[in-house]
Structures are given as C-alpha cells and as structure tokens.
C-alpha cells in the first residue's frame, strides 16, 4: 500500500518544484548568461570585479559588517540557547515563544523600530540623557554601528534555534561524568560543552554569515547611505546606473562564493554530522 503512495508522493512536491525552477533557477541562469554577454563580454565583466577599487571597498565593507554580525550573534545566541536548555520545561516554552516572536515582524518594520530606538532624540538616547548618564546624544544609527545592531537583531533568533537544537542533542551523561571526575563548572563548559557544540556553532556561523552577505534593507535604512554593502550596490547597478555587466558579474560571483563556502564547510566531518544529525 505504501509503495503505491510512494510512487505518487513526488507529485505532492511538484508544484513547489516547478515554482522553484521558474522563479529561482531560470532567473539565476538568466543573470548568469547576462554576466557573460553583457557589455564588453565575460572576461571584461569578471576582471573588473578584481580591478575596481570601488568593488573592493564594497566587498570589504560587506565582509567587515558580516563577520562582526556573525561573531556578536553567535555569542548572544549561545548565551540564550545555553540558558534555555538548563531551564524548566515551562520556562523553556516561554523562552522559545520569545525567540520566535521577532519572526512575525517584517525586516522593514524592525529597521524602522530600531531607528526609533537609536536615533539622537530616540528612546535610548532620551532615557540615557534623562538619567544624566550622557549629556550629548550617542551616534547609534545612520552609521555602521546601527547597521550591525539591526543585523544582529535579525540573525539572533535563527542562531538561537540552530544552537538550541544542537545543545539539546548533547549527551548529558558526559557532563555528569565530567562532574563526577571532579571537573569544575568552567572546566566542564570549556572541555565538554564547547567542543561538543562546535558543529552547532559552525552551522550557525555559516548560516548567519551567508545570510548577512546578502542584507539589503537593513543597511540601506540604518546606514544613512554611508554603509554600502554588496546587495545594495548590485541593486543600484541594475536600476539606477544601468551597469548590468557589473551587477550580473557581481551577483554571480557572490553566488559562487556562498556556494563554495557551504561546500567547503560540508567537507568537514563535524559539519556533515551537524547537517545530517548522524552522530547520535
């Protein structure tokens, strides 16, 4: 009976598959082909990525902001996830709900909310000045700091869920064994928890980094025009300056880099284990 159903099970995924092909695969192929034929041809299009100082600067900014976002996100998310696995089941349900609430709010709304909080006469500066902690408003937004805050906020829930799943899987008997052998709490954390959560941290880092490289709305709104990242640069080249040669080559390059990053990461056994969940 199951075999008959299995034969048709594929049909259930067919509409989604067709959507992906029509709306993702085809346009991506179109971008790829444009990057080879547009302007002065493939060689010129791709070589300018390495010779243009402006592109180097945009790539540098993007890497800088993305790596910083990844580092901060991992620390924050690890603390939260570590706290969650040690809670009572009831508190954990509440914590999980709190972590998922930001998913319900669009990236645009979140960016504007951060502006309200961070701007010079905003909630945070107002409170700090009211308390007499500062006399001049801090410059928290319309700069790289604002972009990083917005991006970390966006990424933390994803990282918490990834790390939470990983930490839950760690065999508590190992922790008990370490304790019974006389390890102090810090030693238990450094020698047991941290190494065993390395795959989870790896997956979360990769996920956050890949996601961060493509941020568009958050840097555009919180950066005050002064934090130019790859996605926004590509969008300007498509719609404003009509430099499709540059835009399509840069898009393709970004896609390849992200693909390589994931492929490389998957070669490491710990990462494979984390993705496959096969180490239990």
């Amino acid at each position: 009976m199951s075999s008959r159903f299995e034969r048709y099970a594929l049909l259930l995924t067919l509409p989604a598959g067709i959507m992906v092909l029509a709306l993702y695969a085809l346009p991506i192929l179109q971008v790829l082909s444009l990057s080879l034929t547009e302007g002065k041809g493939a060689w010129a299009n791709y070589s300018q990525l390495f010779t243009s100082r402006a592109v180097a600067k945009v790539v540098g900014t993007t890497l800088n902001v993305s790596l910083l976002t990844t580092a901060i996100t991992l620390v924050v998310a690890y603390v939260i996830a570590f706290g969650m696995i040690h809670m009572t089941a009831r508190s954990r349900r509440i914590a999980l709900l709190m972590v998922s609430i930001p998913f319900w709010i669009s990236v645009l709304v979140r960016a504007f909310a951060w502006i309200t909080i961070l701007r010079s006469q905003g909630v945070l500066n107002g409170a700090l000045m009211g308390l007499g902690v500062i006399s001049q408003p801090l410059e928290l937004v319309y700069n790289r700091l604002g972009v990083t805050i917005g991006m970390v906020h966006y990424m933390v829930p994803f990282a918490v869920l990834l790390l939470y799943a990983n930490l839950t899987d760690i065999d508590r008997r190992i922790v008990q064994a370490a304790r019974s052998l006389g390890a102090r709490p810090l030693t238990v954390f450094l020698k047991v928890w941290l190494p065993l959560s390395a795959p989870g941290l790896g997956v979360a880092a990769l996920f956050v980094l890949v996601f961060s490289l493509g941020f568009l709305v958050t840097p555009a709104l919180l950066g005050g025009g002064k934090t130019l990242m790859i996605a926004e640069y590509i969008s300007v080249q498509i719609s404003t300056t009509r430099r499709w040669d540059l835009a399509t080559a840069l898009s393709t390059a970004l896609l390849i880099v992200v693909g390589l990053l994931i492929a490389l990461a998957l070669r490491s056994p710990t990462m494979r284990a984390a993705f496959g969940g096969g180490r239990r």
Partner: protein, 365 residues
C-alpha cells in the same frame, strides 16, 4: 533619480487620498520590478484601436494623470488613454524593446533617461510635425523626449534651530553659523552642484562638474550628513529632529511646512530637474501617440497635475493661469529661480552612471 521622484510624487498623493493599500497596479509594479511583467501580461494592456497606453509609476499617479491628461485628450480626440502604472524604468523599456513585445506608447521618465534610451536605440524620436515645440520652454523639446513636468531639490530647514534663516548653498555648508546635521540625497544629480556653489563656483560655470573639487568641499562634513534614498525618508529625518537642514525635493518640503510651519525652505540655489514623455521603439499606437503628447502639453492639464501632485508645468503659458498658492510651489515661477541650477541633461546623459558610482564610493565610510 527621476524614477525615485515620480514614485515619490505618487506616494505623496496616495497619502493624501489615504488609499495606500496594494491594488492590481501595485501588484503589476512588483511584477515589473521582477522583470516578469512582459512575460506574464501578454495583451493585458495591449492597445486596442483608438487607444494610447501610457506607462507611469503607479499608485495615485494613475488617477492623477488620467484626470490631468486623459480626460482632455479623450474630449479632444475621442481616443482613450489607458494608464499602466508598472513603472517604465529604463531597464523595463529595454527588456520590452528587446523582446519585440512593446505594449507602451508613451512613458513618464527623466529627460536624461529619454536621451540615453534614444542613443541606445530603445526610443522613437518625437515627431515635432505633430507635437508643438513652442508649448514647452527652451531646451525641453529634445529628440527623444519632451518635458512634461519639473521638480526641484531645495534647501529646507527647521527655522527655530537657527537665529537667522539660511539663505544659500554657502549657508548649507556653514556648520558654525548653522549647527546641526544635514541630509543630502544619495542619488548624485544636483548634490555636487550644491557643494560647488558653496565653494564659490558660479551657476554658469558648473558644467562640466569639477568632481574632485566638489568631493574636497564635501569631505570634512561627511560625518554630519545623513544620505536619504526616498522622499518619505527625507521628510522623516526632519520630523524626527534628526537633521536641522537638508537638500530635499520641493514636494516634500511643502508637506513638511503644511504639517509644521517651523519647517520651511529657500528657493535660492535649487536644482531644477525635468521629466519627459518618451516613446518606446515600435510602440503599438504608432504616430497617434504624438497627438496625445501634444495634448498633454496643454497648460490646463499641467496645472491640474501641479495642484494634485506638486509637479511644476513645462508649458510657460501655465503661469498666467496660476493662483499665488500655485506659484508658491512651482519651481519655475518668478521669484523661485534665484541662483537656480538647471540640471544639465547633456552632462548627465554622458556621465551619470560613472559619476553615481564615484559618489556612492565617496560617501561610503
């Protein structure tokens, strides 16, 4: 730049009418942005006999254009004006002409965009045997586009923040006399001109722009300038008290003043931009489109648009029909043109892409 202004003008109107919900046109605009409009809409806006299809930037501008230009055109010729708000970006026009499936007869784009499209072979030349050149001011009747409205970027400020009112580009960059953050636009047209005027260059000597000199003038102030991307954002920076002075579109400056008289602007050293009617290559209605363009240059329709959206007329005859309230918001009315810079079409048609990238690179920290 033009694209953003036109969209913004529509947004303003939408806010006024409180009809900002997504509708069919909004959906089509989104499709257009994805490059799917041409594929998914065969025949949807196909010109029937006796129809001219106009493409603009959607939203409330569809109804405003219909009222300003469609109604008089139908009354004069019996032909219908169909408006597609999908957004005639140069990219969309190019894709349409390339595919050989042109559904638009006339587009609302920048005069500079018209020139670049024409040079690349994506636009029909305007037929001046039908379109009356004398209906627009000098320089606005170009081979591939004829001016349909104007808009200005002006120095707006919050009066209560300063003891005296800032009067010019020089004051804009005088942070000692006029302390407080500034906002400028991240689209380059007009921005370097402002810096050069402040540095002592005469209006007549601006073009070709001395880019290095402009950057040198701007550099020390970059940390105190926030760059806006769309009209609504520029207005919000003032409302939030984030900036004391800014270089923003006159339509947004007017909204600020309507909301709170503490916000105002000076017309001195404003940058005048011109939008244009252009015709995509191989348009379905053929020559009939030029009857529409000729009709849409009449002063009455342009005045309707000024009142609905704040876009200035290109027909000099419109002035005689204006009230004082109309004149106060028209960038080309007498009294509003002190030290005005007309954004150079020739210069930007040749240099904009390169300059825009240089500018973005320069302002990026």
């Amino acid at each position: 730049m033009h694209r953003d202004f036109s969209k913004d003008a529509a947004e303003i109107l939408a806010e006024k009418l409180r009809a900002g919900l997504i509708d069919r046109r909004g959906f089509l605009t989104a499709l257009g942005a994805m490059g799917l409009a041409v594929v998914l809409r065969p025949g949807m806006a196909q010109a029937a006999e006796g129809e001219v299809v106009l493409c603009n930037w959607g939203g409330a501008a569809v109804d405003a254009f219909q009222q300003a230009f469609g109604a008089p055109f139908t009354a004069q010729t019996g032909m219908k004006l169909v408006i597609d708000g999908a957004g005639p970006s140069t990219g969309a026009i190019r894709a349409m002409v390339d595919s050989g499936n042109v559904i638009w007869d006339v587009t609302d784009g920048g005069l500079i965009d018209g020139m670049t499209l024409g040079a690349a072979g994506f636009a029909e030349p305007i037929d001046y045997a039908i379109v009356d050149k004398t209906k627009v001011r000098d320089g606005l009747a170009q081979e591939f586009g004829v001016g349909n409205y104007t808009f200005a970027t002006v120095i707006a400020y919050q009066a209560s923040k300063f003891p005296t009112a800032p009067l010019s580009a020089v004051d804009f960059f005088d942070f000692d006399k006029f302390p407080g953050k500034r906002t400028m636009c991240k689209w380059v047209q007009g921005q370097l001109e402002l810096a050069l005027l402040a540095d002592g260059v005469a209006v007549a000597d601006l073009y070709p722009l001395d880019v290095d000199r402009a950057f040198k003038k701007l550099e020390p102030y970059l940390k105190d300038i926030i760059f806006w991307e769309g009209g609504a954002g520029s207005q919000q920076l003032f409302r939030d008290g984030e900036v004391a002075m800014g270089f923003i579109w006159h339509t947004r400056a007017k909204l600020l003043r309507d909301e709170n008289p503490d916000f105002t602007w000076t017309w001195t050293n404003n940058m005048l931009s011109t939008s244009a009617w252009s015709v995509p290559k191989g348009n379905p209605a053929g020559k009939k489109v030029f009857d529409f363009i000729n009709s849409a240059l009449d002063p009455e329709g342009q005045l309707t648009l000024l009142r609905l959206m704040g876009n200035g007329p290109t027909n000099p005859k419109a002035l005689a029909l204006m009230t004082d309230a109309d004149k106060a918001i028209d960038p080309t009315a007498p009294g509003n043109t002190e030290g005005q810079v007309t954004i150079s079409q020739d210069y930007y048609a040749a240099n904009e892409a390169e300059l825009q990238n240089q500018y973005l690179d320069f302002i990026a920290a």
